[in-house]
Structure formats: C-alpha cells, structure tokens
Amino acid sequence: MSALTKIEKNETTAYVRWSLNERIQHWTLAISFILLVVTGFALKYPESWWVRPFAGVEWLFNLRGLVHRICGAVFLGLGVYHAFYMFGTHRGRQLIAAFRPSLKDLRDVGQNMAYNLGLSKHPPQFSHFSYMEKAEYFALIWGAVIMGVTGLMLWFENITLKFFPKWAIDLVTVIHLYEAWLATLAIVVWHFYYVILNPDVYPLNTSMIDGKLTEKEMRDEYFLEWEALQKGDEREAEAEKSERAE
C-alpha cells in the first residue's frame, strides 16, 4: 500500500507526495511556528539588535503577546486536527504505517554515514520516508507536546498556581525557553538543510508547494518506493482500469 499517487501527464511522470490538505497543514504549522519563534524570542531577548528598536513600546509588547498566544492556539489546534487526521483517515493511517520506525532506519543511519564519509559506495535506499524525515516528524511531535503543555501552563499561570508552587512556573519557563531553542535550531539545521540548502534541491524543495515529486527525485531519494511502484505498475494499472470501468 503506497502513500503516493502516480500521475502521468504530457509524457512526464510526477508523484503526488503531499495532498492539498497536508500542504495546508504544513504551511499553517510553518507560519505559526515562525511567528511563535519571533514573538517568543522577542520577549526573552529584549536587548538583541532586532528587538531593541521595538522594546519599551507597550502596545507593541502587548501585540507581541497576543500574536504569540494566537499562534500558540493555532499550533495546538493544528496538532489536535493532525491527530484526528492521522488516526481517523485512511490516508493518515497510510502515513502512520510509513512513519513506523524500523531496524532498517538504524542500518540506514550507519549506511548513510559510511557513504557520506566515503567508506561505502552505496547510499542507503529509502522507502516513503527516510530516517531523516521520520526523526524530524517524531521530534516535532515531541516538541509540540512539550511546548504545548508548558505554553498552556504559562498562558494560564493563575490556574497552574492553583495546583503547583510558584517555582513550577520558573521550571516550566526554562523548559519552554530551551525547548524553543532546540526546536528552532533543529528546524534551521535539519529541516532547512534538506529542503533549502541541500545542493540537490536548492533553492527550495517545492514538493510542499505543488505536492509533487519528479520521476528523478523519486528515484534518487525514495528508491525502494519507486521500485515497488514500478513493479506494481502493471498490476495497479490493471486495477485502475477495472476501477474506471466500474
């Protein structure tokens, strides 16, 4: 069962990797994430060069907080929607299956290191998600849970303080800050590398815009899935035909 749709149009083959729904989810996440980073660090680092010109202006400070909370709510709302999407739809369950970590992922890590260091001539071959993508997805979920829980505790500090002593707020503040740093740096170093800086896709991997991968991209990056598709092509074509006939 593949999480891909192959389309052939005007003699070029493309693979739909991301549905429109998923792309909207991604960009909702991306925009709220970036705004959360900017408005959050603007609170923590009032003396940095990019905050200094705005520091001390009360309405801007209040707007900063408002935007942070709106984006936090959007981020959390998206998280809840995403959980329903993943568990509640056929497509979501396909993705869950594709995200399932396996021992092969561990072997792929070793293989990729060896290949990148010139110790092996064979790159690892990936199926629908590489170990890099799986790691990022789980890191995102982990980060979203931590940031969501700590963020809500800080947002509703008076409720938090009904159940916890004041220093719990201090602890949660520190966690919220450093988890934010971890998430931001991970996005910049890990995600932006694969979708922007990566010499094979620079200046941008556009699959999250049009949702598509080219034949070459499929073969280079997701060889196992591509191979499986080729093998199953005829069979699927038959199935498609019969589906259409119906």
């Binding site: 609170l43 009032p46 008076n158 002593p165 201090d170 450093y178 991970a186 694969y194 010499p199 094979d200």
Partner: protein, 422 residues
Amino acid sequence: MQNKFNHQIVLSRFFVFVGVVLLFHLPSFLYAQDACSECHGQSDFISVDDDGNEISLFVDEQEFAKSIHADLGCEGCHFDAAEIPHAETLEKVDCGMCHDTALAEYQKSIHYQAIEEGSPDAPACADCHGKHDIQPSANPESRVHPLKVAATCARCHSDPKIVQKYDIPIADALAAYQKSVHGVAVLSEKKFDAATCSSCHGSHEIHTLDDPSSPIFWKNVPETCGQCHGEIYEQYTTSVHWSAAKKGIRNAPVCTDCHGEHEVKSPQDPASPVHPLRVAAATCERCHASELITGRYGIADERVATFEDSYHGLAIKGGSLAAANCASCHGIHNILPSSDPKSMVNPANLAKTCGSCHAGATANFAKGPVHLTTSTTPGRVVQFVQTFYIWLIVIVIGAMILHNGADFIRRSRKHIRKRAEE
C-alpha cells in the same frame, strides 16, 4: 482711676508714635524726592571709586515709586543722606534696621560667611532682592517671587565662572530645575506653591550640603520634602530605608537618592528613575545589585538579576506597564524587609500582594522563593534542568551539523564532478 491712667498711657504712646512717624518721614516731606532727584534722577550721574571705576548713582524714580519702599522715601534707608552736600562717606544701607529677623538668619548663612571671608561675589540683601525696585516676594515682579527666584539664584549658581571659582558641585541646577516637575509646575503651570530653590534650600539662612543644620543635609532631606509631601513622609519614616538612614547609614536612601533633586520628575514621567519601566534598572539596582552594599549589610543578593530574568522583568523591558516592578510587590515608600509582618512580601501577606494582579492567588504563591536564586533548592533544580537542556542542545544540534555537513560535502562534490564532466 485705673482706667484713666491707662487712657493716659495709650494717648501718650499714640502721640509718641505719630511724632516718630512724622520725624521719620520729615526729611522726605521737606525735600520731597525732588531734592534727591535733582542729581540722582540724572541717568549719567556717576561717581568714580578709588580704582577709577565709574559707579552709577542714578536712581530710576518711577521704578522706586512702584517699589514697596516708596513710602519710606530716600532717607528711609539712606538716613544720613539728608544733608546736602553729603558727608564724605555715607553709611551702607542697613536692611536689618527693619528686617532684623531676616538679617539674623542671613548672618548664619554660607553667603554671609563668604562675605566675611572677603568674597566679592557672595550675595547680600540687594543682590537677591534688588535695590530701589524692591518688591515683596508675593509680587510676581519681585526677584524672589517663585517665578523668578530660580533665575535670581542662577545668576551666580549657573554662572560657569562662579561655579568654577567656588567649586559649586552642581554646575547648572537651573537647567535641571526648569525640566523638573517642580520647575514645570511653578514656571509653566503657575502653581506657586510648588517647590522653588528656597523651598528646599532655605532663603536667608542658606547652608552647604555638609552642614547638619541645612535642610538639604542628607538626613534632613525627608523632612524637607515632607513639608509638602507629608503623607509620603509618614510612610517613609516607617520604612527600613529610614530606620537605617536615621542610624547614620549613608547607603540607605533618602528621597533624593531615588528621585533625584533639581531634576526630580513625576513617577509617571518616562524619564523618571522611578518610572515603573525604569525603577528596577535605574534605581533599586544601584544598591540591591551592588555587591559592596548587599555584602556590607547582609541584604539578599541577585534580587535584580532574578527579577530581570523573570517574566515580570522581561515584560517591563518590553514596555508593559501592567507587569510587576520592584515597587508593585515591595511597596514604594513603606518598604520593609520580608521578615517584618507588615511587609507586603512577608509570607503571610504574599497571597494578598500577588492577588492584586493575579486574581484568586493562593498560598502557592508563597511557596518557594520568588526570586529564584541558586542558593535555594528549587533554584538549583531549575538550574539543573537548564544545564541539561544546554548539553542536550549542544549534542543534538552538534550531531545534526556533523551529519548534514558530511551530506552537504558529498552532494556538493557530486555536483562539482558533474559540472566538470559537462
């Protein structure tokens, strides 16, 4: 019998009084001012002193006619000038003949002392009050009226030459005063009961800063300000700052240490060092973040640093007037140590203090330290988590950089090779 006797005394005293008044004014009645003005009414009437300097002897009659002393006539003050031609030397005008209290006060002042020591610059009566144009201080024309007194003092105290010559520590108090809440109230808003120079420094009996009898001697400052700010003075005298100051601890703040003096601003003025957005960094920090002072008196340290790290501190830096500053929790003039049951930050009062912003604040607010220093267990726990995270970030992001760096080099080489082949 008794009544009649008294009557006689009253009558005789009355006649003596009338006689004295007549006698006193007689010269002016006889000569009128015409006799004097014949010479002194000439604008070019001068004498030359021993050094050859010309001294104008001109008196503007019209100006004098408007002065409070007009009725006294010339001889009211220049009593030995009735005789014409005048004697070789005439007595200096002695204001103390009438104003004996003011004179007695003045003679205790630093100004009089300077004159005694031979200073040619120190002011006598006329230097501040004027001569023939003299007006009562309530008259806006007077040089010592609230509107003008600052400028009058500034003739010397903002004169760079005088400031340098006498080593006056504050070079231009006038400029600062004009921008102060007091100066603006008096000069622009015409609120003449607001403080002028003399409200704080005194008028005739001016002393220097180091003179314990001066109203601006540091220990006297609260009382001086309290003349107008009475309620605040009452609060301040219950504070830990005053109980230290009155023992002679100069590090303890009096009014001016937090508010400034000549330049004092309203706390609502963003330029004030006690404005909610500035009080921590511009005022409290000067002592409570000073190792010397916290160490010397055993005051809790890291108060300001921990505040600035907290949400309250960050929100203040961001410009939020809603966030708590030092005074929001500790009080303003009535600051007391947390051990004092009356202190706003005494554990028993914390729920109430925090509750003024955090509706429904519970006893949890009082649990654990508010200022999270590493000398407390929760502080150490939080610091441990912080250290853990920093290492986690260094290791995880470091590994990512190595992993992707190798990937980048491999892919780049592939591209370079490909380009070379083309």
